[in-house]
Symmetry: C2
């Protein structure tokens, strides 16, 4: 579908407005039919939620668009044909990303390769080998451009085929500095993707968000070497939650750096020894992963917003606290229709008084 | 139960007679009620199978018993109270073994630790650590006294607790020579077990047979490091077939010696990193292993022998060839009762013309 320039502009402006995340964005678009209409409704909704809000200023959006152009980048909207189908299915898929390079690569079957920044020499060698062999077999190797495993996987893939790097900062921000050349090569020979607006320096909170895109793009995520509780394990968990294959390369338990991967395998990830193991798994992938690495999450039903205004935000607010609870529970306790509860929650969110958590849970900001 | 001296003697003589294996032994004992009666029937049965046979000479048995005594060893019969219950349940459990040391140890929950003879230093260290920690936690560590992993596991276990070694040769035969001291220590501080008669030098064919006893004694078998197609993997397979836990310590795929264990894990063995992982699995073991490492085998129904003589050995023989087929198939093709087919097969076996294979299959010797 082709957006009018006005609607494309409104979408960017809607997403850059305070308290609008991917879930809110999607709900608003469904409720109002267009970003233009949603933007108009936004201030009133926030007011009903109990606080004033100002939508993003058009000048800021004009500046952003100019910066994206200057960087040789383009926008990709969630309903564009080129937007990767697997990512679109993922929970809280980004409604808009910016990219440099060949967006058509995102239509290829993709494998994420992730792992530690301070990886062992053996693990770096494996990441390089796997990247090379997977790209050679026509798979798109996806990673996060970090030092260590990520970089080795990208390098390996570039030597024989295609790679996609998802970065935590803006499309025009070089990070990490050691990978400045690699980032430029990927933008020219592969595809470079950013969710944050141009000019954004990557911060700690951007990385898990970036990881969900890596996991969402790929049919499966391979962890090469990872410490317990590391970011790579978060990517693996997100892949599992999205119903994708989770794979790990094992290591000797005497080597502390193998613990994360070994634990993943104990928890149901597929043990992988060779690139062929990965290729077989990815080519057989039909949406029913062989990996059983999936954390149980409360079922999450997303309802469309009710028509009209949320009539009871104060009542819904009284059911919330700083402890996250499933929206489904709020609906049950309130006795209201799901659509009007969602609307009231959205109004609280736009007012900056509500936080959304994984698994369709919400909490009140205190 | 206490055997009369005459029956104990007859059992040893029956088992040492030509073409009598564990399955045959059990069938004969059930059919005739005692080894004394089975011995009397044996020559006629073999004759009906088409060839003469001579049962073991009493003098040879007297010599064997004297050798067992001289070695400070004793006999353990499959229906003795001290015979380990788990081993009794295992397929083709040995009807008689000889042992030195403390047979009461075999009543403890047991874990088999097996692996390569030419193991890496890291794997030897792990075997030692696991042996030590498991014995310290009150588990009986079972292994095969081989060089490498076996020896390290025994050594570790002896430092804190109990260990059982199952040897491929006779109870009075030292093998391997490098472990002469260890063998003697285990006989004094643990328990040493042999299936073959005293004086038997271990030969290649004895090792798989020894491995089934190791697997049968233990609630679970842990493979520490093993090459593909090695004896340790046979022990793991036998443990899986007996419905026990199969566990493996992973390793980096770049290290060829890790391939066997990694493949086991891919095939459903539980990945183990620490002795606690093993202890937890063994203490939770209720006969339903968490490991899914089990090869599919044709179902094997063991029937009691029919009364009287096998009436159609020639007819049953015509249904057999040098390719192993399931006994159940022979029963179906023959139109005879299962008991009389078993009897005819037994007669062919005693005549040295039939070989039994795993999974209840039989073939004709050509």
């Amino acid at each position: 579908m082709t957006l009018t320039q006005e609607e494309a502009f409104a979408r960017i402006r809607l997403l850059r407005s305070p308290n609008v995340g991917p879930v809110t964005f999607r709900q608003l678009l469904r409720r109002f039919g267009s970003a233009v209409a949603a933007l108009e409704a936004l201030p009133d909704m926030a007011a009903r939620g109990g606080r004033r809000m100002t939508v993003a200023h058009p000048d800021a959006i004009r500046e952003e668009i100019a910066a994206v152009r200057a960087a040789g980048a383009r926008y990709l909207f969630h309903d564009d044909t080129a937007y990767p189908a697997l990512l679109r299915e993922a929970p809280s898929a980004p409604p808009i990303v910016t990219y440099r390079g060949d967006v058509a690569l995102l239509a290829e079957p993709a494998v994420a390769i992730v792992g530690a920044r301070n990886a062992s020499a053996a693990a770096l060698k494996l990441a390089l080998q796997f990247g090379e062999a997977l790209a050679d077999a026509g798979k798109l190797v996806v990673s996060g451009l970090a030092r260590g495993i990520d970089g080795a996987a990208h390098e390996g893939a570039l030597s024989t085929g295609a790679t996609a790097a998802v970065i935590a900062g803006g499309i025009d921000v070089v990070y990490p500095p050691q990978h400045a050349d690699l980032q430029e090569r990927i933008a020219n020979e592969g595809v470079l993707i950013a969710e944050q607006p141009p000019g954004t320096e990557p911060q700690a909170r951007h990385f898990p968000s970036r990881n969900r895109i890596i996991a969402g793009l790929a049919s499966g995520t391979l962890v090469v070497e990872a410490a317990p509780k590391s970011g790579s394990l978060i990517t693996a968990r997100l892949a599992g939650e999205a119903g994708r294959e989770v794979m790990a390369i094992p290591g000797n338990p005497l080597d502390g750096r193998a613990r994360g991967c070994n634990q993943l395998i104990r928890d149901g990830a597929v043990l992988v020894q060779t690139p062929d193991d990965v290729i077989e798994l990815i080519e057989d992938f039909t949406g029913q992963p062989r990996s059983t690495f999936r954390e149980e999450r409360p079922a999450f039903t997303e309802f469309d917003l009710a028509e009209g205004a949320g009539e009871h935000p104060a009542e819904i607010e009284s059911l919330l606290s700083s402890a996250p609870v499933p929206v489904d529970d709020i609906v049950r306790s309130s006795g209201e229709s799901p659509g009007s509860v969602q609307l009231a929650l959205l109004e609280l969110e736009l007012a900056g008084r509500l936080t959304r958590h994984a698994g369709g849970r919400v909490s009140l900001n205190t």
